[in-house]
């Protein structure tokens, strides 16, 4: 499902080269659940961005569902994301001007799916927010917003879902519900999960963990 080979990423900032990721290689089977662990600044989020095709590597390749991302244009990668990828962010990132239901509909509408509205309502009740269709993000609590974001992430039945510290802005209990939901959806839909976190409890629930430090893999549970 996901292969990365000798992946590196350097940035130029204030005239200096800054190496954030060095020579990362691993692969992940369909339906797998990977947790990427590491302290702040270890390169977790950068890796996630590269795996999801949000950015281009400085060296190495990423194959998502058999397709190499590095050779595609940004619009092309956007299309790949629209077809196969779901996202959940630490800061929820709901679009403030859209209602809960519309936020969930957006990825489906982008693909031109039929029945987006009814599926959005169904997903909302699945995450326990039935009847909140017309609420705006500002009218929802943090946990509720993340549940809407989760419903949005799964709305297109993605082959792979990337989550960046999905519980980072939530209290432990709310966080646990979110993780339960994610794991349940992963099981029911067969979606591959890639999760960035520094929450060890959360990492334990993943089938596989990769630990980063200073931009390199220091431990891989599958190795």
């Amino acid at each position: 499902m996901l292969q990365c080979q000798s992946l590196s990423r350097t940035y130029r900032s204030a005239g200096r080269e800054l190496t954030v990721l060095k020579d990362i290689t691993f692969s992940l089977e369909p339906g797998g659940f990977l947790a990427i662990l590491g302290p702040s600044g270890s390169g977790k989020t950068t890796l996630l961005g590269l795996l999801a095709g949000l950015d281009r590597p400085s060296a190495g390749t990423v194959h998502l569902d058999g397709q190499e991302l590095g050779v595609l244009s940004e619009d092309h990668r956007a299309r790949v994301r629209g077809e196969k990828v779901g996202f959940v962010f630490q800061a929820f990132q709901l679009i403030p001007t859209l209602t809960a239901q519309e936020n969930i509909q957006v990825p489906m509408e982008l693909r031109g799916d039929r029945g987006a509205a009814s599926r959005a309502i169904e997903l909302l009740s699945r995450v326990g927010l039935g009847g909140r269709e017309h609420h705006y993000p500002s009218q929802l609590s943090g946990g509720e917003q993340q549940r809407v974001a989760l419903a949005r992430g799964f709305s297109i039945r993605p082959k792979i879902l990337f989550a960046d510290e999905p519980t980072g802005n939530l209290d432990a209990r709310t966080g646990a519900t979110i993780i339960d939901l994610m794991v349940g959806l992963n099981r029911d839909l067969g979606t591959t999960l890639v999760l960035v976190t520094h929450d060890l409890d959360l990492a334990e629930r993943a089938g596989r963990t990769i630990r980063l430090a200073d931009g390199s893999v220091v431990a891989d549970s599958a190795a």
Binding site: L54, D55, E74, A78, I95, V106, E109, R111, G112
Partner: protein, 847 residues
Amino acid sequence: MKATAFVFRMAARELRAAPRRLLLLMGTVAVGVAALVAINSFTDNLQDSVRRQARALLGADLALVSRQPFSPAVEALLDTLSRGSRLARITRFAGMAYVPRTSGTRLVQVAAIEGQFPFYGEIKTSPQRAWSELDSGRHVVVDPSLLTALNAGIGDTVSLGEGRFVITGTVQSAPSDAGVRFAFGPRIYIPARYLPETRLLGFGARVEHEAFLELPTNVSAQALADRYRTSLLPERVRVRTVADDQRNLNDVLARLTGYLGLVALVALLLGGIGVASAVVVFVRQRSDSVAVLRCMGATAGSIFAIYLIEAGVMGLAGSVAGAVAGVGMQRLLPSVLSSMLPVDVTPTFSWSAVGLGVGMGLWVALVFAFLPLLAVRRVSPLSALRRPYESERSSWDRWSVVASLSLAGSTVALAAYQVGSWRRGAIFALAIGVALLLLWAAAWVLIRAMHRWLPARWPYVWRQGLANLHRPANQTVTLVLAIGFGAFLLGTLYLVQFNLLRQLSTAGGPARPNLVLFDIQPDQLPAIERGLRDAGLLHTVATPIVPMRLRSLKGRPVTELLAGTPDQPGGDGPANAWVFRREYRSTYRDSVVPSERIVAGEWSRPGQSPARVSVERELATELGVSVGDEIVWDVQGVSITTEVGSLREVDWARFEPNFFVVFSSGALESAPQSFVKLTRIADPAERGLFQRQLAERFGNVSTLDLSLLQQALEQLVQRVGLAIRFMALFSLGVGMLVLIGALATSRFQRVREGALLRTLGATRSQIFQVVLAEYFALGLLASLVALVLAAAAGWGVARYVFEGSFGLPVIPMSALTLLIVTVTVLVGLANSRDVVRRPPLEVLREQ
């Protein structure tokens, strides 16, 4: 297809959220469009009125005009043409009116009427029958202002030269009179058959003979005019038709409405800046949503389309609102301008002006939104995860070039449309481009300067505030451009207005002559000079005036020049035929006067042969002569051969006798001539007494009271000024909105910083001082640079467009600078009010 559906659905949702920031966009577009619709509707109405009232303006279908009595050939033609239709004649000249009962005198425009004039339109008099009964006796109908000036009333006897008439009524309205005409004296209508009794048509008097024809409906006036125009040229008869009048009038009015239209365009362009700054803020607000949409697979293009549609809809709404307001305001314009318009303007709804205004508003909204909106394409999906490591590069791609070019092209096109000339439109846009470039350079210098030379000894709050000007993500360039450009447009507008009005009002002066005596015959001159000397009055050397016409230029007879080149017989003749045909009232003297300057050749020396003439520079260009060319004049039937000795530049704005052509001494002394003298009598009563005595003794000598002319001019200037200020108000309004909008772009940055500073222990007053320092520096730099640019632009417009001198009003310009700096600082402080009003934690959490 699916992408299009998504784009429209998202655009509709975005609009539903009614972004408050974009209300500013709507507002600025609305005010600009309101100005444009008001002006353009007014222009349409004006042209419409001119078209509808043109026949009444001429009063007939066809008119023949000449400076000399019609020749037998012309009379024969008139006879033929008027068979089966009507003919009327008017003889116009200037003369002194004198009312013995009150001893009032006044220079008047006499019109001697013969026949049932006018055939179209109506001259309204009070009492109503005064006009129809004019011919039934020695009656006159006068302008009401004359009664006031002469302290006379209906029933009084007025003398004109040696004729005596009874005032039977006043003119309430005559369609053909523009306000400017009144400046040269009130009108007085007399029956033509009593004209000889006045004995005012002596030698040298400037008389205009007009014959008016009413044609049968199946005869085209234009066709007749075209047929006879050429053959009447040698007779020195001009043909006027309704269409000619309409065209001339439209030319004059185009200049007025062109200026007002440009003012409206400035308001709309300022509105464009308002749009751009609103969009900058909007894009910044939406960048998170954009990143998320990109993560979920939306292409850069479709996101761009969503927001462009949104800007377009808001722009359209603003334009429609503006058009509604403009239609309302258009009703005010005729009342502001009515006294200087030759026609009655009825405000009617002009579809074309409204459609065009809405179209221009929408276009400006889209074009100005386009460039800043391109930034959404550069929002990386990665920024949904975290702030990017690398600072965003605002790289120039194909679309930025397209956007910039269409912005420049639109400015040229809109300006060209409003002023009706591509060249002027391009100059206008070029000036704007140069101004933006220089403002950008100034901002760049400021950033470098603050980076290098910020003194470490200065108090912390000042250093903090000024350092904000060069720190990363600073707003210096954006704000200097927005504030500076607004200030530049406002400043230029003000300077143009100031100089326009100043130019109109520089007439006269405290010690200048205020009374002109003209048409003095040679035998009257000694007596008049003696009278002036005995009374101890200022008197200038008498200026001789010799009327003449051109006979030939450089060996070619004028008749040949008028008929066109020999290769094209029957051509319509040169476009400037008038300069060949007109009567020249020339003088002779042996020295240069202060109001003129030799620009080519040299002043004549006595005894040169042939006699030398000095020709005014622009006339020389029109005649196509230069130094050394031969000109033969027809002076009352006598040929005088001359050579162009020099070219002169003349300051016509001075109230002094100035001439197109000046002869060297010795050539014209024996020609038939009259004299002009200038004098000054400060006291109005004494001036009146002098004029009266002169009129009694020398009936043919006219006096022109310049102080009256000056008053009339001042009134005119005030009216024009009112109209100009009325329009400038629009620009000031939009300018302020734009300033507020531009400063709102900086709000996010500063609120967050302020909250952080407060968290770290800064007091409210310290925060205020930091903000004050930053915005004061921005406002001062932007307005100073802008006003220097405005001075340059104002000078250019005054010098090359209105061809006058340029003055810089220091106090108002300083006031404008102060106003801009104050508003900048106040809006900056208002932007920061959240920081000091609310607890810092709340602000930080929200961001």
